[in-house]
């Protein structure tokens, strides 16, 4: 009954003309950037973040979230038609999506992808509705030591599980923690690492860092790769999208399994939609009676990862909103957006900002239905969009990045920092150092410092609470386990699946 009341409250927020408009803007932008390879949801969310500073926090979050899950829908279009993933999670869709295009089944691939994305997203939203309040209730009893341990686990998991080389991921995480120290120390008022630059007194701008590491670095990688994607002879009509009875028979099971697996993976810190998509593909292939069809246009190879990555995206909001612990870089930016408005995500969010929490949840339903409409009847439009040459697109995106970063504080120093982070990110990525742990470390750094200091202060300078409290001890043990596993993988030279 209470859940229904909460949902009614959410829909009363999400169905206002303003909320509908921003949800529509968000999912449309998300679909566009998802379709176009080489831009990415994180760049776009960072670009739009300054715009949300002037909005009501609910509208801002609805728009940013819409971009995130809209991009998951759109990114499969480029994977299926071009064999170029619009985003990292859609990379696995290339494996069977592109062979389907070559077999003249592009329309069916796009149709089942959209439906699978919708089902995966909806399943995770139901989970969010029932699971988030329970988790928030448990988390109310968490102490500073517990929060420190959870954040450490999230950082370690994201740095070691999500990156191809765990040690490199850990290095980047620590760099992020260090960059998070720049600015005024809230305890003493002392400036740290500002080097006399007033613009750094409030710390490094999150937008400048995210845009540099992901926006500029990604564009530099594409420009220097010498292989800019080009669309050839793709024509998709509504008639060509109708699947056969046999297709649909194979669709339901794989879509259901992908949704369940994706939701579970999405809730775990440090995993995200890419791992969910790859895991569900591997699982589907393993249980298939015809594994030889995978890689040659198997419909399960498209539906399972697509439902999984969309489920993971929605499920990622559970730890982000209820614990205040982001699972990946995009969630970290979302948290940054809320913090700007003075809203701290965590267990109190549901009770203190119930309208915001349930409004966002309700907007997910609205957004997923809008995406269904955008991605089925208007698929021809997105296919046409793919014909825009990348060489015409990236100079404009670079200008938008400059303007977006500048507009946050009206500071040219921030744009210079974006240039520095862009170059540094490009160089480090080329050597296999992932950017996501750095951004996560940057966002969680101040929170980790605050909780560590508070826990130690409350215990009179003792580190005992970290291992005496069952919650923090459990999370610290999990952290140690992840580190040990990463070390074991390294020693045995078992490759860890890369994410970014």
């Amino acid at each position: 009954m209470e859940t229904l009341q909460n949902l009614a409250l959410g829909f009363s927020q999400a169905l206002t003309p303003d909320a509908l408009l921003y949800c529509f803007i968000g999912v449309t932008i998300g679909t566009v950037v998802g379709v176009l390879p080489g831009i990415g949801a994180l760049t776009t969310i960072s670009l739009c973040l300054p715009l949300t500073f002037h909005l009501d926090p609910l509208l801002g979050l609805i728009m940013l979230a819409g971009i995130f899950y809209g991009a998951q829908y759109g990114s499969s279009t480029a994977s299926i038609l071009l064999n170029v993933p619009g985003s990292a999670p859609a990379a696995v869709t290339c494996l069977d999506g592109y062979p389907m295009t070559r077999q003249g089944r592009a329309g069916i691939a796009l149709f089942v992808t959209t439906i699978a994305s919708f089902i995966g997203g909806c399943f995770a939203i139901v989970l969010l509705i029932f699971f988030a309040p329970l988790l928030a209730q448990v988390a109310i009893g968490f102490s500073a030591a517990d929060y420190f341990a959870i954040m450490l686990l999230a950082l370690t998991a994201a740095s070691t599980l999500g990156a191809g080389a765990p040690l490199k991921g850990l290095c980047m995480m620590v760099v992020g923690l260090i960059l998070g120290l720049v600015g005024t120390d809230l305890n003493s008022g002392q400036f740290r690492f500002t080097f006399g630059i007033p613009a750094l007194a409030d710390g490094i701008s999150l937008v400048a860092l995210a845009m540099g590491l992901f926006g500029v670095a990604e564009i530099l990688a594409n420009v220097t790769s010498g292989q800019l994607p080009v669309l050839e002879n793709a024509r998709v009509t509504l008639r060509s999208m109708i699947p056969s009875r046999e297709d649909m028979k194979r669709f339901w099971g794989s879509c259901g399994r992908g949704s369940v697996l994706g939701s579970f993976v999405g809730m775990l810190p440090g995993t995200g939609p890419t791992i969910a998509a790859f895991m569900s593909y591997a699982f589907e292939k393993k249980i298939s009676k015809t594994p030889e069809q995978f890689g040659n246009g198997a419909i399960e190879g498209v539906t399972s990862p697509e439902s999984a990555n969309n489920a993971a995206v929605q499920a990622a909001f559970i730890p982000t909103l209820t614990l205040g612990v982001p699972g990946d870089a995009i969630m970290a930016v979302m948290i940054g957006g809320l913090l700007v408005h003075g809203i701290t995500p965590g267990p109190q969010l549901i009770t203190e900002n119930g309208a915001l929490f349930w409004g966002v949840v309700a907007s997910f339903w609205v957004g997923n239905i809008l995406l269904l409409i955008l991605n089925l009847p208007f698929i021809g439009l997105w296919v046409k969009l793919l014909s825009i040459p990348y060489k015409a697109l990236f100079p404009a995106v670079l200008l938008l990045i400059c303007i977006g970063v500048y507009s946050v504080n009206n500071s040219a120093v921030d744009v210079v920092l974006t240039f520095v982070f862009g170059l540094a990110g490009f160089c480090l990525n080329r050597h296999g150092y992932p950017s996501a742990p750095l951004l996560l470390g940057f966002v969680l750094g101040p929170l980790i410092e605050e909780n560590f200091r508070r826990a130690v202060l409350l215990s009179g300078g003792s580190l005992a609470p970290f291992i005496e409290r069952p919650i923090s001890a459990t999370f610290l043990m999990l952290t140690a386990l992840i580190l040990a596993l990463a070390g074991w993988h390294r020693l045995r030279k078992v490759p860890v699946k890369p994410v970014e």
Binding site: V175, I178, L399, C402, S407, F426, G461
Partner: protein, 150 residues
């Protein structure tokens, strides 16, 4: 030691140096103790941790027989310089010569990073996009930058 080996050990070396610099600089802010942490306590801790992790990475890279073979000779340095430089140039120009000229210069530089087939259309596109950006961000969204001049 071959060239690609040097290229591979440069990032961990740079990270080690960065970590060491942070630890040294952080210690100047006051380290304190666990009961009374100074502003530099965690800076020193993170700096030292980075040095150790980067050292481990350096050692593992050193012992790796399989060294990533990069095509460093064919690397398009000019494209990189133009695309990245366009961001820096915009930052340096926008408050000195105004929004529209800075945007035109940035777009022109970035366009040069990829082969341009039709300069006339590209030039028209650059001017139109600069004007459209000005209209959207300055007129509509109120970004406080003049169209021309500082």
């Amino acid at each position: 030691m071959n060239r690609s080996m040097i290229v591979n050990i440069l990032p961990p070396l740079a990270l080690m140096l960065f970590g060491a610099a942070i630890a040294v600089r952080g210690s100047a802010y006051g380290v304190g103790s666990l009961t009374a942490m100074g502003s530099g306590y965690l800076a020193v801790a993170f700096g030292v941790l980075l040095v150790l992790l980067a050292l481990l990475q350096l050692l593992s890279q050193w012992h790796e027989s399989k060294v990533a073979a990069g095509s460093e000779n064919a690397f398009p340095w000019l494209a990189l310089l133009l695309a990245a430089g366009s961001v820096l140039v915009w930052a340096l120009l926008v408050e000195r010569i105004g929004f529209i000229p800075a945007a035109v210069v940035q777009l022109a530089l970035a366009c040069l990073a990829a082969p341009v087939s039709d300069w006339r259309h590209t030039a028209i596109g650059i001017v139109l996009f600069s004007l459209a950006s000005y209209a959207l961000f300055v007129w509509v969204l109120g970004l406080p930058v003049p169209a021309f001049g500082g």
